[in-house]
Amino acid sequence: MSPPVSPSVRTPLLLALVLALLIGLPPFLDLGLQNALVNVLIAGLFALAFNLLVGQAGLLSFGHAAYFGIGAFATLHLMRAVEDGLAFPTPLLPLAGAAAGLAVGAVAGFFATLRSGVYFALVTLAIAELFHSLAPHWEGLFGGEAGLSSMRMPWGGLIFGSTLEVYYLALGWVTLSVWLLWAYTRTPFGRLTLALRDNEQRVRFLGYDAHATKVIVFAISAMFSGVAGALQAISNETANYSLFSAHVSAGVVLNTFVGGSTVFFGPALGAAAFTLFDHLVSDLTRSWQLYQGLIFVLVMLFAPGGIGGIVQHHLRHRRQLDWSRLAGPYALAGLGGALVAAGMVFMIESLSVLFGEGYAVLRRDAGGGHPPFEAFGAQWDPAGPLTWGLPLALFLAGLFLIARARRDIAALWESVRSAPAGRPAGRGPEASARSAPSGSPS
């Protein structure tokens, strides 16, 4: 697998560019996209905070929604106090989320880290479920089933009424938090965290209290998750118990692994990709979560290093790569991926029409037969050869192209691998052939 979680060589330049875009672009975007970008920032920070635990300490939590949710509720309580006249600067509201996340994370972490592996994961899951089931009944704390609501109050000449203001508030906090999370990796404790992931027993035999170390890592991860939750509360001005749901916990796992947990910024990439995907696709189809799941499975199967792993792998070998020769096969693989995706989408959408309620009505009206259905602006016969032959043909053609491209790409990477490089070869996040964008739906 990859070397210690740490940014690669070109990172500072890339980061400056990304930050400049994040600062400069949003005023020119429509409201929907601005909102989506706020969600990208929140999901990105949440994923990076989560990855401190899973990627760096090697502790897979299935219940991180708990600390995200706690951060959101703590912030809403503070916002309500501000509404009632407490003098607290609105831009500092996320401090409430950080403090709550840290405190709850320290307690929960103390118990969860008594066990490791599957048992650790199950305890974290149980803790999140505890909140999920208690919250609707604890009206005073969590506002019952309806949840808590509040308003952002103006502060220091800033109204905090527009999405853009919220965006920049979130950007500031996310930038600060990500910088702190990155700085963390370079401290002695950050290095110890990686050692803990590799070999907990040896950590103990070097004189470290492994349990105390894990509790602190857990609490810090929960603290930054709490900041992310706080930003969500500020953005939505409301929160209810569904923030504690397994859906939220699973979401951050998905984002993190699709982005790549072995690369520092990988989880943020995954969060950005999925959040934007949601924004773009959820209006088009009801099956968007199915597509998300498919992408996740494909990434885990063919590029377990995730998006970040692929990017890092290419950056590391950028000088040895003959891009002019790689471009062709990559384009071919991309086309193949698009064809596979098209075939899949056609089939899934057709099936979701055929098994949907609307078609059941149609069938009743047609007296039990199989009337044609509409999809992609055309009429299709459910028993017609074209209806199933077309997507199958697209799918197979795509697979064929990918198989061809994959061979070329593998050969080209093989030459990179055997070439004398600065660092020994074979240390990429995955086998070269796997890093091809094979089959990932576009």
Binding site: T187, N199, Y208
Partner: protein
């Protein structure tokens, strides 16, 4: 109280896994500065004894004293901080960290940087210099930046010994440091161990009698969880009871080697 207490003292140390006694009352005194080997047939309880001394397993009976102070019942990290460090029979390193980083983690522990969160470790000169020094000591400078998991087997064994030294302990336990090594590798490892344990107290499990002869001041023979004899290597090899119990099984000095077959049965509860 005339003489100072022994560096390491075992008093009636016993361990049972369930109803099965594995270590049955071991008494042993190792004065400061001595290099001491524990030998014995497979399943004699050597690794279990190490695991008891280093705190991996709790004792079933008896006491263990480090410079006169009991360490029985302490967790491994507390025992380590009291000045006793161990290596492992099965290489136990941080595979995905660089070789240098492996050593630096240990050095950080010596400097009490257990929860250091406010300064990059790269700027801590003392820590980095000490890690470099140990890197040089175990002759791995050329591989400093490579991942520990990419080292050859004998390099990993050297790193394993290096990591044992990092925390500054003066009582060192080495569990079969030369297991699985070729003749030359073994010779180099013996030189290395001699060098790095100078002035320290060493307790080692070793199968290779030539290593024991060239390195150790005294030898204890452990058979069925009991110490049969403790004496100089020369007298031990002349001891009739020892020959029958242990050395007799093996044809001669050169083949007194045993490629780590010892792991069966006694390491895991």
């Amino acid at each position: 109280m005339s003489a100072s207490p022994p560096a390491l003292e075992l008093v009636g140390v016993a361990k049972s896994f369930g109803a099965i006694p594995v270590v049955r009352g071991v008494d042993l005194q190792i004065p400061a500065g001595e290099r001491h080997a524990v030998i014995g047939p497979n399943g004699a309880g050597k690794s279990t004894l190490f695991n008891l001394v280093s705190g991996l397993f709790p004792l079933s009976g008896g006491d263990i004293r480090l410079r006169g102070r009991s360490i029985a019942g302490l967790p491994p990290h507390r025992i380590n901080r009291s000045g006793l460090a161990r290596s492992f029979q099965i290489t136990n390193i941080f595979h995905r960290l660089s070789v240098f980083e492996n050593l630096r983690i240990g050095v950080m522990a010596r400097h009490g940087l257990r929860f250091g969160l406010f300064r990059p470790v790269a700027r801590m000169r003392q820590v980095n210099e000490e890690a470099r020094a140990i890197l040089a000591l175990v002759r791995l400078e050329a591989r400093a930046e490579d991942l520990a998991g990419d080292l050859t087997y004998s390099e990993q064994r050297a790193l394993e010994i290096g990591m044992t030294l990092t925390t500054g302990a003066d009582v060192i336990l080495l569990d079969e440091p030369t297991a699985g090594m070729s003749r030359e590798e073994t010779d180099r490892a013996v030189e290395l161990i001699r060098e790095v344990t100078a002035g320290k107290t060493l307790l080692m499990v070793e199968h290779d009698m030539s290593v024991v002869f060239s390195l150790c001041d005294r030898v204890s023979v452990l058979v069925y969880g009991e110490i049969l004899a403790t004496d100089t290597p020369e007298r031990i090899s002349a001891n009739r009871a020892v020959q029958e119990a242990y050395l007799g099984e093996e044809p001669d000095e050169s083949s007194g080697r045993d490629f780590g077959q010892d792991s069966g049965g006694e390491a895991a509860p």
